[in-house]
Symmetry: D2
Subunit: 133 residues, 4 copies
């Protein structure tokens, strides 16, 4: 119920350190993008795992806001990530979220994470969020 612009404004306030941008949101979907630079890389040239988790968490939050509106107290209750392929050190990370259930108090969604331009996901995430009553 919140627009892309409303969500972007909210996320800048609520996650001031986040580097993610909202590419698209709506209909229980969201796409976000995270630039990759020195801060996100590990020696050997790969994106650090916690950065991927952060992008997934962000994508899930954006998708939920797009569905239920700006509810700042929504909190992550669990997150499971499977790392599948080595991300590129020179491509941005794209996170594509699909909500699987939007209940009154619990939301479940999944996120596939990609190195931009590659169709094989580097990681897959399932997360659950609690919505305050």
């Amino acid at each position: 119920m919140a627009t892309k612009e409303e969500i972007e404004a909210f996320m800048k306030t609520d996650f001031p350190q986040a580097k993610c941008t909202v590419e698209a949101v709506g209909e229980q979907l969201a796409t976000v993008k995270h630039p990759i630079g020195f801060d996100e890389l590990r020696p050997g040239g790969t994106v650090s795992g916690p950065v991927l988790m952060a992008v997934a968490d962000y994508a899930l939050y954006v998708a939920i806001l797009g569905e239920i509106g700006i509810v700042s107290l929504t909190v992550t209750t669990s997150l499971t990530i499977n790392f599948m392929r080595k991300p590129s050190s020179t491509k941005d990370i794209i996170g594509k979220c699909t909500l699987l259930k939007v209940g009154k108090s619990l939301v479940v969604g999944e996120v596939s994470l990609y190195s931009e331009g590659d169709e094989n996901a580097v990681a897959h995430v399932v997360g659950t969020y609690s919505i305050p009553r």
Copy 2:
């Protein structure tokens, strides 16, 4: 098989951005500490979820190195986190890892995360790592 000093030196090289310190390691256990400041906080005064995931990932890696020695290609294959309580915005985060299985190719461990000085965990993590042959 690696000492605390060897692991600290390795982690500084392999995770140059990490703020964690190794408090103790050995006998399939590890304790790490992460300072909490502006970069780790969210409005409302709580530690961001991805910071907690990063501390858990770090604690698992340290515990594994302590057990199998410096093997730089060890990679996280999966991680599940359950967020249980709101962390304090003014306390460091402590991660205590226990390895549950150290196999030839797969390691499984769990981490309890605490706001320093509080005995109730703020989050619980189970992670799996792949060891190259």
Copy 3:
């Protein structure tokens, strides 16, 4: 690379107690069906959680066999299930699996579970399997 018939024959031998049938398999996908009767129900009229987990495990295994051929030593290494909606007590359970990664030693897949005829999933599973070398 194994056909539906080969997989069905193998599963009857390798999982003699399973009630699942293989509806379709191929191209990194599989669909299985589990009949629901007294043994699968709990008072109040819902399918028990462990039955759903068993159907997901079966669907993942069938999809893997369809991709890599009959490899009897393939073993589940992890499974995460999120229960989302109450299953019908009078409908069969359908499991639809999609493999996310087929590596040399590790396979990752997801399964959506449905009460037959309902398009909203009752549960979602992500599983990982180890393939012997």
Copy 4:
């Protein structure tokens, strides 16, 4: 707050097919036992994964009832299992549960599963339960 006898009576009614017995319960802990016979085995002589998941689910439920009393609508919302060692085909399975958080609406607990008499866990589970308001 429910006694072992009250929980056993309730579980017989609520999970009529379950073969588990309650060995001990109280103080946010529970120990359960599941006999292993033909129905639980797979060719090659190991306990099937879904049986282990069922034992963990049972142990979590018993521990929760021991803590909050008989609340029949408590439902599993998520469960993550890591399989770590091959269970014995001739030993009962023991499940030892520890609750990690008992909130007003959400409970988190972990379970270690053992082949009786072996101190190395065959699998580890983290589960979350929702308590109706």
